[in-house]
């Protein structure tokens, strides 16, 4: 059973990273300024690399090879939270998503670097250094745009309100939560969410943005169990368009 629990954990991390990496890469060539274009592209590469690291570990645990797993599954076989699959929208949404997701991801990787599972701990310890920079970028931009003009503040505010229920879906509890806790593999989603709320609130406090009323927010769940928005399948179709011309070919 512990094997299933571990794989479930690894799949949701790998799928989150792959799908958000893919979305972030859509900014290449069309960012609001060259510097942000480059930043999103850089983070996209990191995220893709992170997903590859976890798919590779899954492969070692008996799952399919990373290319097949990433390029050949259907939406209902994906375990990513719905937040990451939403279209990039305007820059304010992409920034807020990046802010909410990467703050959570940093905490997740910090926790996993202490995991009793040696391989997981090793990968998390290595990758958390990269996510630290993603968080620096997100927090810097949110602080700047969240205090700048009426327009930028209201755009960020609207995107924040739209994204928050989806962001709570990052922490959708897993069926295997207790097993992972008992085995010391992972601290669990609830613990992570509490720390995350504190960090998000601390950054927002330095801006003109309103603090969320955490208690009244309704989380959007389902992603961890293969339920997705209508946006995921077209993303996967596009991603696999060339690969599926000949899945056995070397590209």
């Amino acid at each position: 059973m512990q094997d299933l629990a571990l794989k479930d954990l690894l799949y949701k991390i790998a799928d989150d990273e792959l799908i958000l990496g893919h979305r972030n890469s859509e900014w290449t060539g069309i960012g609001p300024m060259l510097e942000e274009d480059i930043a999103f592209s850089s983070m996209a590469q990191d995220k893709l690399g992170h997903s590859l690291a976890f798919y590779t570990l899954l492969h070692e645990l008996g799952e399919g090879d990373p290319d097949t797993v990433a390029f050949m599954r259907n939406a209902d076989q994906y375990h990513n939270c719905q937040l990451v699959e939403l279209p990039i929208g305007e820059y304010d949404f992409s920034l807020i998503r990046h802010f909410l997701f990467d703050n959570a991801e940093l905490l997740r990787f910090e926790a996993l670097s202490q995991s009793s599972h040696e391989e997981v701990a090793k990968i998390a310890a290595k990758l958390k250094g990269e996510i630290k920079y993603h968080v620096l970028h997100a927090n810097t931009m949110v602080k700047q745009l969240g205090t700048a003009t009426q327009d930028s503040i209201s755009r960020l505010q609207q995107s924040l309100e739209y994204a928050l229920p989806f962001a709570l879906g990052i922490f959708e509890p897993s069926t295997y939560e207790q097993e992972l806790l008992d085995a010391g593999i992972y601290v669990g989603e609830a613990a992570l969410q509490a720390q995350w709320q504190e960090r998000i609130s601390a950054v927002l406090a330095k801006t003109s943005l309103k603090q969320p009323d955490w208690a009244s927010l309704q989380p959007v769940y389902g992603g961890r169990y293969g339920q997705h928005t209508q946006h995921l399948q077209p993303l996967l179709d596009e991603m696999a368009e060339v690969f599926k011309i000949d899945p056995t070919a070397e590209w």
Partner: protein, 327 residues
């Protein structure tokens, strides 16, 4: 990725007569000695104008060039290619950033340059007005267009304007990786399954005519480049670049079992490549706006500028609290 195809039109050499002859002579002597000209040094207006035009066109070519290749980031087959395609296109956008900064040292702001781009006033490399229909097209661009760009940029890196040369040194180092990546991708296609081989040959057939115009019109047709070559603004003639490119890459294309869609292409006894003269009327038509993708490329750029305007305005706002990055 830039081939120097359309830089030196409409030069007004009359302006030169208004320059201080002593300073002009001193300036030309410095260049003849191989010295670099720096932003605060004296320079003729014409030199400044032509450099802005050239560096700006180069910068525009990088961001517009990111569009046909960028389309294939989200479709790249497999992790290896997806990661490489992302990194490659990101590099091109990074080159634009370097080049706009180099051009700004001559007195034109990035915002002005981008405005001129989306208004159609300033040009970019003509090849990017052609579509990348398939994944194989993006491989051909990564290999052969980047190869062409290196030929042109290596020459320009020995030019006279310091900031442009230094930017080009860095750019060429990265382009060398793109070339390896593009070549590797084309090798996989050309030696792959029948579908892959068909895809890559068709892409080469589509891209060959634009590639042949990449370095600009034949020297017989370009005028007024003498002064610019003396000033080391233009470093190699269009035909010389084209010959060098053919010499380096046609054998490599043939080696892969691919054919070049030009029955007249051959190296003669004097070691000079002969080829069917490219359709320069089409080249002019496309450069002046009537190509398959001109409208689309500029529309994408214009939309990006408009959608991102609020971000740039906000960051320039005096109220914005600038956070010192910890890194």
């Amino acid at each position: 990725m830039y081939g120097g195809g359309n830089v030196f039109e409409a030069t007004r050499f009359d302006d030169l007569q208004q320059e201080d002859p002593v300073k002009l002579a001193e300036f030309e002597a410095r260049i003849a000695r191989g010295e670099k000209i720096e932003p605060t040094d004296w320079m003729p207006q014409l030199y400044r104008k032509q450099l802005i035009r050239m560096i700006e066109q180069h910068a525009h070519s990088e961001i517009i060039g990111a569009l046909p290749e960028g389309t294939w980031i989200t479709r790249a087959p497999g992790f290896r290619r997806k990661l490489a395609q992302m990194a490659k296109v990101q590099d091109e956008v990074g080159h634009a950033q370097l080049l706009y900064s180099a051009a700004e040292t001559l007195g034109k702001t990035r915002e002005q340059m981008l405005t001129d781009l989306i208004n159609g006033k300033s040009k970019y490399s003509n090849v990017f007005n052609y579509p990348a229909f398939t994944w194989a097209d993006s491989n051909i661009i990564s290999w052969l267009i980047d190869a062409g760009a290196i030929v042109n940029q290596m020459a320009n890196a020995k030019g006279s304007y310091g900031p442009y040369c230094r930017a080009l040194d860095r750019i060429c180092a990265e382009e060398a990786f793109h070339l390896k990546y593009g070549h590797d991708a084309v090798v996989h296609m050309a030696t792959g399954s029948p579908i892959q081989r068909k895809m890559i040959q068709e892409a080469l057939n589509r891209w060959w005519p634009p590639i042949m115009t990449f370095f600009g019109p034949s020297d017989k047709m370009s005028t007024h480049t003498e002064t610019l070559m003396r000033w080391k603004v233009k470093m190699a003639s269009n035909d010389a670049c084209r010959q060098q490119f053919l010499d380096m890459y046609v054998p490599k294309i043939w080696e892969l079992g691919l054919s070049v869609p030009d029955p007249k292409l051959r190296k003669n006894e004097q070691g000079v490549w002969e080829y069917t003269e490219p359709d320069w009327d089409e080249f002019k038509r496309v450069i002046n706006g009537d190509g398959p993708c001109n409208a689309e490329r500029l529309a994408v750029r214009r939309t990006a500028e408009e959608r991102g305007a609020w971000v740039r305005r906000a960051l320039l706002s005096p109220k914005a609290e600038y956070v010192r990055p910890l890194a």
